[in-house]
Amino acid sequence: MTTRIGVVTFPGSLDDSDARRAIRIAGAEPVALWHREKDLRKQQVDAVVLPGGFSYGDYLRCGAIARFSPIMESVVEQAKGGMPVLGICNGFQILCETHLLPGALTRNDHLHFLCRDQRLRVENDTTAWTSDYERGQEIVVPLKNGEGGYVADERTLDELEGEGRVAFRYLGGNPNGSRRDIAGITNEAGNVVGLMPHPEHAVEALTGPTTDGLGFFTSALKKLVAS
């Protein structure tokens, strides 16, 4: 049976078609999920990606309205049951708003939207979305956001570091003022990962700076096939 990975489209989602393309290139079957869907189980998806964009215009606070979308209750429930969930950019912000991941994303310290090819170091190669990388490996994927500064209180940051839950760190200059250069984190179980950079934009040599982002999707696929 093919592995089905869902991509949620909220009003204002922008990188949803890119995420579906990345899933397809990795060899899984992408499933478009509409945010009003109440029960994920009906769609029989094995994993879910919350894509980048500006859900609901990000007018109140990034991700703050999307977390109340009908589908999110089911996503949270499944995630707690161990289903792999990846939040990219706006998706990461939504995961923080739902408290599946700790902390929050704030306005970039230089106050500008920034789009650039970003070097990252993989800090954790044991999550559902990073097992195809090696710890310490350097990758380059696009970064593009206006509110990507990761913040949390010192205790939370220490906990994340202590438990190896910092999944990615920025290299070559912190692009947005994120605490401790954190680009992405994981939950304790390792099935939920959120990051600001965009691996789905680095899956084809023709359109991306590299194909380094493909590993996210092949990691999930391997894990799902194995389980």
Partner: protein
């Protein structure tokens, strides 16, 4: 507002008939005496306030092209009748955007528009809503928008007001475009004191559709419903109509509604998805976006293009502000609204799609079997006009124009007399000054605020010669777009300047390997009431139309922006020309970067001593005079053939157009982009300064792998294209042998520091 407060003031058609002597503020609304007389003539009575509002805004320069029309006709009259460009035209000038066949069943629509004046008043919203407007033009054709580009002109880089305008414009473009999910793949940023007080903010959008999905704006079919959908109508962007509403009809109202519109990109994103879904479900007969002149424009144009009349109930328009008068509702330029004509039995399905996307949609009228546009308010008829007289039969002017008396003196001020760098050390210093000058410096501080990755089909983006988008992931079919327009050249000679703008844009498209097909233009000029500015406009139109005919690239549409003038001081005439090209397989594209050591660098074309309007004369001497570089369109066509063949047959690893700043600027850019140096030899018989800094046209740099050299030079020889081997990709410096060597790090520092230091 209470019903009583306006019942005494409602100016109905009946009331207008009964009170022929009532004075109306036609002058304050920008109408001329004879224009007002003509409106009275057309109607056979005085207009109502609402009718006057409609005519005044639809007959404005911006909507009616009354000063430019007689010159714009040439684009149709001289349009090429044969060749790939002519054969590819599916929809030409006059629709909301032109449509070009790009093969494999795909069509592409693209258009550039100006949002200059609003962007000076309120840079963020002005630039943001400029994107919003052009994107709606594209979706109204039935196309999915796939990319945007922004040609920008600002005052002097170090002027304090530029520090207000530029960051706001850039943040507005980013804030709106990024949130809309459209990659920004190119454009230009140019500084010149002449744009002080009159910055140019042009926006281009490209959309893709299948041939069968092309839709035109018309309201046909009696009984069909008119649906207004998108944002609610508010008081923003009312401009002139507020004079009418507040000063004549109701003195107690707050006057002077804000004239600059406010954008909501989230709403626009929903509009895109909702509109395309309705198109694909075949629910739409005609569609029109609401831009300038709002509902006045949409209803009169839809009705005018259709077969019947239209009846509109203004009470049914969803409002953001319930105190709006009917005139204001008709004039409001609230953003993110569209108007669709839908058959009665499809209305429910149309509304369901709107509901899915949480877009407000309301039936506000229907197509009637008459030929009148009738608008009602509280059951009373306030507009009763022939829509054609509003939308298409406005005044047309033959404005007087005359070659300005200073033109001869300007052309006589030859840059040949300017002191030049005389040795290697001075050439080195001149190179650094050039690459660090605001116009030649890296613009990444600006373009990094735009998302170039979203949608996942961006193959090339700034600072490449053209942006390139993949259309079909299976076959690799793609399009390339470039915009160019050198106001300095056009100031020296507006006829040649317009031809040069096309030549450069055409060359930029070909440099990436795409075949140039069609043109869109944004003609930015001074006041049409100034004979000198009008002469520049007339000359530029003549030049562009001639050049388009010669190159076989038809103009598919565009926009005119006049009155870019403060007092006596007009901007440089600035025809911005966008060229669209097609490439069968984007994997064959040629990027600009020198990537591999050992590749041979060839300069294609002839280098003459041409410094009129050059970047060097501006940077080194603040000079503008003489003649612009000579244009040879046959040579441009040949160069394009060579560049396309080199891409298709895999002969060139890199190609870069030579334009502003000459060969040395192009070399610096290709070296820095690839992080590779170059060793350059000045060709025999050429003065090193002329070789490096001249801006002769019809030239490009290419990097050729040694294995392809013979094939490439044979092709150039066979076709009569001059090709000089000027060096090799090598090392980590730009070295001009016998003259100077510049380590890439030093070059990069100068090239990349300028813009962040000015605006960061």
């Amino acid at each position: 507002m209470s019903p009583q407060s306006h019942s005494h003031s409602l100016d109905t058609v009946k009331h207008a008939e009964q009170t022929p002597e009532t004075d109306l503020p036609w002058k304050e609304l920008g109408l001329k005496e004879d224009e007002y007389a003509r409106i009275r003539d057309i109607l056979g009575r005085r207009p109502t306030g609402a009718e006057l509002a409609m005519y005044s805004v639809m007959w404005s320069e911006h909507c009616s092209y009354k000063s430019s029309k007689v010159h714009l006709r040439q684009f149709g009259e001289k349009a090429p009748t044969e060749g790939p460009g002519a054969e590819a035209m599916l929809v030409g000038i006059g629709e909301q955007a032109g449509v070009v066949d790009v093969g494999q069943g795909y069509a592409v629509t693209f258009k550039v528009e100006s949002h200059n004046h609003p962007s000076y008043v309120e840079p963020y919203q002005g630039a943001a809503t400029g994107i919003g407007g052009i994107v709606r033009d594209i979706i109204a054709m039935g196309a999915r928008p796939v990319a945007v580009m922004d040609p920008l002109r600002f005052g002097a880089a170090d002027h304090p007001d530029t520090k207000r305008v530029l960051p706001g414009v850039v943040a507005g473009i980013g804030g709106y475009g990024n949130c809309l999910g459209l990659p920004n793949i190119g454009g230009e940023v140019v500084f010149d004191a002449c744009y002080q007080g009159n910055p140019l903010v042009n926006a281009l959008c490209v959309g893709v559709m299948k041939h069968e999905d092309i839709h035109l704006a018309k309201a046909a079919g009696t009984g069909n419903k008119v649906i207004l959908y998108g944002a609610r109508t508010g008081g923003d962007g009312i401009g002139g109509a507020s004079i009418l509403a507040s000063e004549t009809f109701d003195d107690e109202k707050p006057s002077k509604r804000p004239a600059v519109q406010v954008g909501d990109p989230f709403q626009e994103k929903l509009l895109i998805e909702c509109t395309l879904e309705a198109f694909h479900a075949d629910l739409v007969v005609g569609i029109q976006d609401l831009g300038a002149a709002g509902l006045s424009c949409a209803t009169s144009e839809l009705a005018s293009n259709g077969s019947g009349g239209m009846r509109v109930e203004l009470d049914d328009v969803p409002l953001r502000d319930s105190s709006l008068s009917p005139e204001e509702i008709l004039m409001s330029e609230s953003q993110e609204r569209m108007c669709a004509v839908v058959e009665p039995d499809k209305v429910d399905r149309f509304l369901q799609i709107c509901e899915k996307w949480e877009v407000t949609a309301t039936v506000v009228g229907e197509v009637t079997d008459g030929d009148r546009l009738e608008i009602f308010w509280h059951g009373e008829k306030i507009v009763d006009v022939d829509p054609r007289t509003v939308a298409h039969e406005g005044p047309v002017y033959e404005r007087p124009y005359a070659r300005p008396d200073w033109q001869d003196e300007l052309q006589a001020d030859d840059p040949a007399q300017l002191p030049r760098p005389a040795n290697g050390e001075e050439l080195r210093a001149a190179t650094l000054a050039l690459v660090a000058s605001p116009n030649q410096a890296a613009k990444s501080w600006i373009t990094d605020q735009y998302d170039r990755y979203v949608l996942g089909d961006t193959v090339l983006a700034q600072p490449e010669d053209s942006g390139m988008i993949r259309i079909d992931p299976e076959t690799g079919l793609g399009v390339a777009v470039s915009t160019d327009g050198n106001g300095r050249y056009a100031k020296l000679d507006p006829y040649e300047g317009a031809r040069l703008a096309l030549a450069e844009s055409y060359r930029n498209v070909a440099a990436t390997g795409a075949r140039p097909l069609a043109v869109t233009d944004c003609l930015n000029f001074g006041s049409p009431e100034d004979p000198a500015a009008m002469w520049q406009f007339a000359e530029a139109c003549r030049g562009l139309a001639d050049a388009c005919k010669e190159l076989g690239t038809p103009v598919t549409g565009g926009n005119v922006s006049l009155y870019n003038q403060t007092g006596e001081a007009a901007i440089h005439p600035t025809p911005v020309v966008g060229v669209l090209g097609v490439i069968d397989d984007v994997a064959r594209r040629t990027p600009m970067a020198f990537r591999d050591e050992g590749h041979l660098i060839y300069l294609l074309g002839d280098t003459r001593e041409e410094f009129g309007g050059s970047a060097w004369s501006q940077v080194a001497h603040g000079h503008l005079g003489g003649r612009p570089p000579r244009v040879d369109l046959e040579r441009e066509r040949l160069l394009a053939e060579i560049l396309i063949a080199a891409s298709r047959d895999g002969m060139a690893d890199a190609a870069h157009d030579v334009s502003d700043g000459g060969v040395v600027q192009a070399l610096a850019e290709s070296c820095l982009k690839g992080g590779k140096g170059a060793r350059i030899v000045v060709p025999d018989g050429l003065d090193p300064f002329v070789f490096l800094f001249s801006e002769s046209q019809g030239r490009a740099l290419v990097a050729i792998p040694r294995s392809e050299e013979v094939r490439f030079t044979d092709m150039c020889a066979a076709r009569g294209m001059p090709a000089a081997r000027i060096g090799v990709v090598d090392g980590d410096a730009l070295e001009v042998q016998g003259q100077f060597s510049l380590p890439l790090e030093e070059l990069r520092r100068h090239h990349e520091a300028t813009i962040p230091e000015l605006f960061g």
